[in-house]
Symmetry: C2
Subunit: 349 residues, 2 copies
Amino acid sequence: MQLRVVVMLETDRSLFMSDAPSFRNPTAHDVARLAGVSQSAVSRAFTAGASISPDKREKIIAAADQLGYRPNILARSLIQGTSKVVGVVFGQFENPFFAHALDRFAEEFAARGLRILLFTAKTNATVDEQVAELLSYKVSAVILMAVNLSSKLAAECARSNIPVVMFNRTTEEDHAAFTVTGDNAAGATAIARHFLATGRKRIAYMAGYDDSSTSRQREAAFFAALADSGLPPPRRAIGHYSRHGAIEATRALFASASDQPDALFCANDLMAIAAIETLRAEFGIEPGAQCAVAGFDDIPMASWPSFSLTTYSQPVADMVARAVAFIAGETGEEQAVVVPGKLIVRNSA
Amino acid sequence: MQLRVVVMLETDRSLFMSDAPSFRNPTAHDVARLAGVSQSAVSRAFTAGASISPDKREKIIAAADQLGYRPNILARSLIQGTSKVVGVVFGQFENPFFAHALDRFAEEFAARGLRILLFTAKTNATVDEQVAELLSYKVSAVILMAVNLSSKLAAECARSNIPVVMFNRTTEEDHAAFTVTGDNAAGATAIARHFLATGRKRIAYMAGYDDSSTSRQREAAFFAALADSGLPPPRRAIGHYSRHGAIEATRALFASASDQPDALFCANDLMAIAAIETLRAEFGIEPGAQCAVAGFDDIPMASWPSFSLTTYSQPVADMVARAVAFIAGETGEEQAVVVPGKLIVRNSA
DNA sequence: CTGTTAGCGCCTTCAT
DNA sequence: ATGAAGGCGCTAACAG
């Protein structure tokens, strides 16, 4: 009978444990008690550059190890009013350009002891909520990748002294957001000149989104360069920066068999690659000769032999480095950084 | 003269603001004072399901809006001992399979009010430090994507009652980590049978890492299926799950012109696609006829016409859903979930 | 339903 | 260099 009771107790206990955390993590007090010092000594032992004698520190560290103690970053951040966390709002998982950029950010931040709190926003509409939530985490900076922020929330960030970085987007409004982009104007102009120099006449443009500053800037420069040479405005379609959208856009642009473009500039590489495949598979057109195709970004895939895409490069690592330098306060007064790239001519154009 | 003084004051103020956060964010106390209620009432107004009268709540919300107040999540988490944050340790940005999985996780978590704290670990060696740091953020769960955790840290997580999920990896050790994988054995067997059924004789295998459970399981099943049919063990090379590594591995496997494989199974699609391109570009081999190439994952790119890769699918969305269900405590006792996929036959094999 | 009272775990003056 | 004491902003029992 007694045995049965014991078993039941054990069962109860394990059930309880799986529901609620019955185990309390050790605190600085626990460590202090074990090491025979004050709690503030423990705090100092874990704070770089605090004044504490080496032997005392060692004793504390030993006690901490024994207990499995780690400082609670939440409590620390609460006091200091800021956390070593950067909020990143990310949208485009499909595009390797941004995946790569996120990778670079992670690395640069890690080197500075910063962590990434990741938020996703498929549309600009949801960005505001995400950023609002970020603020309540007391992040030390906000990075917006491929999305825009309303000026209202930008103002809120500014008021809380949280730097905002827009990566690969600019903004016309004068709220204080730091922007880093590639050289959209120079790139689009270079592509246009390349098309003209190789005798292209019936030129088309595939936009990303109409409300993307990046796409608009590339389009404006591209159209301007062509107009300078007396060409009519290119035919135009919207690919939504996605593969699917780009396939549809390509079909639309090449639908009329009697009047197909002989050159196509896509607002990014992802769409350009989709266009290349669509031209091959559905129109029997091999990009390069009959029709030139160019992109923007120079993602790794652009150099793959299957695509050999002519494009204008955006140096991701540099762009990220500039953004991080700004956040770390290592930069001057600039607000809109434009990182130059270069025209990469391959076989597609 | 007075004007000049004002200007100087403004300058001083802005300099000061850029150095330290002179602006104190409004707290629940501030809101309480403005709304003429107690501070706990403010807390209740922002807590779903707390007992507070609708009109009082409205008054509080209005005051909060006026002040730009948002609850400090750090303080809340400090009390509750856990944050609505999930730690994700991520390694493979190059592989769209994981990018897609991360995307799915972000979406599923967002639907449950969970956030992602992102850590990167290029090697298994660094995973432990990352997870240790995660613990001090009081995350409510840890997800390991394509990396392994030492049993020491797994034990620490268990002691803190933090569920650990290994995504696309399993572990032989019996520490309590929940694992989700595709059906590595069934997939590799299906590929082997497909090779055999189409008369392949000189079969090769490209591994990921030797210490990756995923790669080892696929290899074991693949080798076993071939051995069942009396074939000798395949030639073998290691591609490190990267494009670069896969190109090198392909070169090694096909170096001897007199004895090239007539079938190649790669431990993932990313490597298989690299192999296809290398065969075309460097060996003049068009995958499908002369040499079959198969992968594993069924990433979107596998279906692109340029590759048309035969592969075994891993249903990312399902896998992620299972992992999230476990974290949310909606699942039973299972520890090692295997999500079945299916053989996708395209042109490459 | 509401206000009061204690803390959550830690950092940071302030004395010593 | 060290300990004591007072919060950081909020939630969670308590009474009423």
